[in-house]
Point group: C2
Chain length 711, copies 2
């Protein structure tokens, strides 16, 4: 009997929660969780459980979960690891849906077997597991604080998923201090069952959550995560912090969590592809979360800077380039809009400089002009403290303008520089959640985040690319290789795979006569290469069985004779099966195409220019599979050496379409043939536009433990 | 009569200051300056001046500076621009040493003539000018606040030089709020006379100043600034903020200040070469200033991270890579030192993880171990809020440990994450100037800054490179070109210049006989190129006067005849002066060498790999001249394609020494021949190590307004 797995929503909206491991003594983890649940006022039923029984916080402690009379949606398990399995067995008897296993002592310390045993039992009995090794979870929807962290959690619309316990607990405090409200916070710990993808699927449907912030150390089920993220980011902003960016950081991360960190460059590319905002630091992630949770997505790209100081205006311009904000550039329109406010030595160019003489009224006038102008989509206001505004005027100006911008749904940030007066204004405005910052980079960074969200949400989801390949023929090649005890393909097998995928390699064939050789060579076009085909001749060149640079039919006729003659002379008994006539690959632009299937990371493809560009300049781009034609094109454009494909120094444009086609084939190969784990075509020689490309060499790695249908 | 210019120290240590433009009415700029001077309590004599006379703030206002009885070191001039010249004339009569011209309305609005007139007069009368268009200056040494900015300036050891008035005034407030004390702040405005280099020369000698922070929009006298900065950074940390990093920001900066912003990539390279710390934002610059002003430079590179959370430990590891901090890596030593503190699931690896169970005593123990271990040179402590320490314990722990580290002169930073309890600790510790941060990146960034200072100060100043070149011969070539009405060199002139600099171009010479041709070709080595030399034949190839690929003496003999024959046939009347026999340049690695003299930016040199690497990949490095051999080498190593010079894919190492030699020649050319403004050798073909290099083509631009001796 196949039963649907219980819905993740029971974790966030349970009607009843049992806490297994509540002792009578305060201070213990189970007790603390019960205390937090009561403090926040969970709306459902609570059942403390402990074999010793007794009383705690006004509740009778049940000796077993089986004593509960009603249903139990969630069982929070906070007992030593060695007792967890038995508790899970009891939970199954009670038909519990969700197990939040707080206990540590499982895979994070190498105890994989016990974790697997618990997981297998839970799966068999249709229960889902959060954790183990977590601090718990919080859901504002039902006022559930089932954590042993701080009891005070500010309520709001940011959901946090964290793989780090210590950081997660600290973030509860930090968000409260920074006035960032949470709709939920979920500690995922060892992610033995429930992972980010499961939680995202639920959170994007939940009205309480507007922003999703994830702290990730390592990923699992990469392919599924990519799919879920791509969908999620179209609906709600997703911010990710992933440590282990640096080489040494990746090593530290691996030793800390046991997670395979993977290449950060690949992770970064995939996150961008999925429309995720990746923050460098916790502080940046929290600033973005706060700004995004209060501001509307702008209606277009055009940004404007309004300032009373030229120097900070220039800095904000720099920051706009860093955070990819388009500065509105219609000089005539700008002049028309801001002429009346940029008097004296000011400037109507963007940055609009209303000078150090600007009063509250001048700021209000300039900001109102920007507000009503529909070709301006977002505003970054800057202020250097002057004698023209006191603290109260500054506060009022910002407060009023922010309210008007909010009403109209146009995002605005304020970056202010100054002393006590300015600080006083900042602290009043922060309490009201007005986006006021102490540096231009902070404000512009937030505006860059919201512009990024606009871009992500404005791109329509596109069909994934797929291409026709002869899967049966390819499987035959793989069967033969595996039967031969190899997990890689030989050169001829690789050529066979190229053919089965209709990927153009050097054209050619085997002939048995001079006439046929000439005919084939004429078909292929010169120059051609000729090689002896004989099971008796292993080292063809040594036997005089290879000729290059054959430029016309006469040379082919001569060559045919020469090869037969040389081979018979050198290997007298050889049976000559024929002569292979192959297109000689002429020089062109060398590119490299790759694909890799990774258990954690999912399937990724890679593209770059070959040779030195990939080896020395590390100039390659990555994307996750599946992906659309548009994403393939953006991958090609992303490499620094892309101008070489467009043609530089008087060269013609290269056949980029043939690269796209080849990449589509590679994507299909790795997607449709599960036993292929790695493909590298290197080099593929690309000719001028319209003249195609040739895959010169292909390297394929296999796995023999995936005989079933594609993932 | 040549008189020494008055010493800049009079600006910082005047015994008497006149304020020209003090009206009786409060609110006017002159009045405000007098008020600030009195508020801070200037230690010298004060003379308010205004033709209208009267009284202000208890002083009689003099009608002219000439009425002052004693000496006047500094005259602060705060009157409309049109009256400034006359005031300066009066100051000259009084032998004033320094003029701080607050007034605006000069070159910043296009009024260059008036500014030049004032400057010429001041120069002729041996007075120096700060400004015009400034908010004034402050010097703690004599308690002089001669600004119209905030009157409260926190006293300390950071000197600020700012080109932006608005930002400078705001920074006075901001530093006070952030508890950063100033030894001085100087607004340089239009920099008509006194610029950053003048001020730096003084500030490095001043005991009050420990850190120098400069906000720059554009530079002048680049060559001198580079020289002064290189020296200054060996003595005191110099932090620079320069806006206009982005393309659009550079345009905005140019329109704001009229300064030529120059290429930011060049500026950035020069600042690094000079040992300057370049901050991206004001906030970063202030954080660095504060940390550097209180902490000692570490004794070595080894950093260590101590944490109670694995996740933040990994983030700090990432940050260490970003800010170039070496993490101490001796695993045995680490284990020995930290074994006793990293119990349970902790780690003695770096990051040292003392786990979420760590108490105050555990932190103290771990930090003390790191303090006494002399192979550890700096410590970054991290803390995620747990129930193991309350606010007071956290505060005490950090306070005590900081004090012990300060006593031992070992730098330490603390990055702490948490809620109210942690915030309370932070605010107490900030008041005591303890380096506590809210994010790992902030703390690590500061540690990176101080490690950078250690590196800069530990490198000894090296002799600038110079090479022998035949300046007389080069000047003759330039004279001829300029006489011909050109400000560029023709191809043959370029070759002549290469010869005069002993820069190896293709070897060769002109011969008048077949025998001589063969002898020369044998000397050069084959293949060679032969070209006709005739004043009557302009288009040598068209006349059949050029032959390539001559591989042996027979071909040279044939070629000689062929050229004579063809030329006589094609241009019957041509007088043939001889035949040029030249080495044919064979393929090698192409590099590009450049040098440029810029009025603002000084002299810079450039190096990169030629062709696509420079054109498409923009893979070039810059340095300012003069520079040492070590700096030349570091420039070559800096390009991303450097591995190509070392030899990749089985190729041999290239002749890097010959690149160094050629760069030394280029440096000497641009340094010793003032009329050369631009040199570009492109390509220079570099062969395998020991086989040298050949400058194939050289492009030289000239200026005819620099006939004198080298700068």
């Amino acid at each position: 009997m196949i039963v649907e797995k219980p819905d993740i929503k029971y974790l966030f909206e349970p009607e009843s929660v049992a806490v297994i491991g509540v002792s009578q003594e305060p201070g213990k983890i189970g007790y603390k969780i019960l205390e937090n649940m009561l403090y926040v006022g969970f709306k459902g039923d609570i059942y403390p459980v402990n074999p010793k029984g007794g009383h705690a916080l006004g509740y009778d402690i049940l000796k077993s979960i089986e004593e509960v009379e009603g249903e139990v949606d969630v069982a929070v398990i906070a007992i030593p690891a060695r007792f967890v399995y038995d508790a899970v067995v009891s939970c199954a008897k009670k038909n519990v849906k969700m197990l939040a296993i707080i206990s540590s002592g499982f895979s994070e310390i190498g105890n994989l077997e016990e974790e697997q045993r618990v997981l297998n039992y839970a799966r068999a009995h249709n229960m889902r597991i959060l954790g183990p090794n977590i601090f718990g979870h919080y859901s504002s929807k039902v006022a559930l604080n089932a954590t042993f962290g701080p009891r005070d959690i500010a309520e709001g619309n940011v959901a946090i998923i964290t793989q780090s316990g210590a950081l997660g607990i600290a973030m509860i405090g930090k968000t409260a201090v920074q006035n960032i409200g949470l709709s939920s916070i979920i500690s995922v710990g060892n992610k033995t069952d429930i992972n980010e993808a499961d939680l995202l699927e639920y959170l994007i449907t939940q009205d309480e959550t507007k922003i999703i912030l994830m702290y990730i150390e390592g990923i699992q089920e990469g392919e599924r995560l990519v799919k879920v993220l791509k969908h999620a980011t179209k609906i709600k902003p997703v911010i990710v912090i992933k440590s282990g960016r640096s080489k040494r950081g990746a090593v530290a991360a691996a030793s800390h969590t046991g997670s395979l960190a993977g290449s950060d460059k690949v992770f970064d590319a995939i996150m961008r592809q999925c429309g995720v905002l990746r923050a460098e630091s916790i502080q940046e992630a929290l600033e973005w979360s706060k700004f995004l949770s209060h501001s509307n997505v702008p209606k277009g790209p055009n940004g404007i800077i309004i300032t009373n100081g030229g120097g900070v205006g220039v800095m904000a311009t720099d920051a706009c380039e860093k955070y990819d904000i388009k500065l509105y550039d219609d000089q005539d329109k700008l002049k028309e809009t801001f002429e009346s406010v940029a008097h004296g030595f000011g400037s109507t160019k963007n940055p609009v400089d209303i000078t150090g003489e600007a009063s509250k009224a001048d700021y209000v006038k300039a900001l109102k002009e920007a507000l009503v102008d529909d070709s301006i989509h977002c505003v970054m206001a800057l202020y250097c403290e002057t004698a023209m505004m006191d603290s109260q005027e500054l506060t009022e100006m910002i407060d009023e303008m922010y309210e008007q911008y909010q009403t109209k749904g146009k995002p605005i940030t304020f970056s202010v520089f100054g002393g006590e007066l300015t600080e006083t204004a900042i602290s009043v405005l922060h309490k009201k959640n007005v986006p006021v910052y102490r540096d231009v980079y902070d404000g512009v960074s937030c505006m860059g985040a919201i512009q990024s969200i606009r871009k992500v949400q404005s791109i329509e989801e596109a069909e994934p690319v797929t291409a026709e390949i002869d899967v049966a023929a390819i499987n035959q090649i793989i069967d033969d290789a595996l039967a031969d005890g190899r997990t890689f393909l030989l050169a001829e097998e690789g050529q066979g795979l190229l053919n089965a995928a209709s990927l153009p390699g050097p054209r050619g064939g085997v002939v048995q006569s001079v006439e046929a050789a000439v005919k084939l060579a004429d078909d292929i076009g010169y120059p051609v290469v000729m090689k002896v085909v004989s099971r008796n001749i292993l080292h063809k060149s040594d036997a005089g069985g290879v000729l290059l640079d054959l430029d016309n039919s006469e040379e082919v006729i001569d060559g045919y004779q020469t090869i037969i003659h040389s081979c018979k002379a050198n290997v007298p008994d050889a049976i000559i099966d024929g002569i292979e006539v192959v297109e000689q690959i002429t020089a062109g632009t060398e590119v490299i195409l790759g694909a890799r299937r990774d258990a954690n990371f999912g399937t990724t493809i890679m593209f770059g220019l070959g040779g030195i560009y990939v080896e020395v300049m590390k100039d390659v781009a990555f994307r996750a599979v599946p992906l659309s034609n548009r994403e393939l094109r953006s991958m090609i454009k992303e490499i620094r050496s892309y101008p070489l494909l467009l043609g530089v120094r008087g060269e013609a444009r290269k056949d980029i379409e043939s690269i796209i086609t080849a990449l589509e084939k590679v994507v299909s190969l790795i997607s449709k043939v599960p036993r292929i784990t790695d493909i590298e075509i290197n080099p593929m020689v690309v000719y001028e536009q319209g003249s195609g490309a040739r895959a010169v060499d292909i390297r394929v790695l296999l796995s023999d433990d995936k005989k079933d249908s594609p993932q």
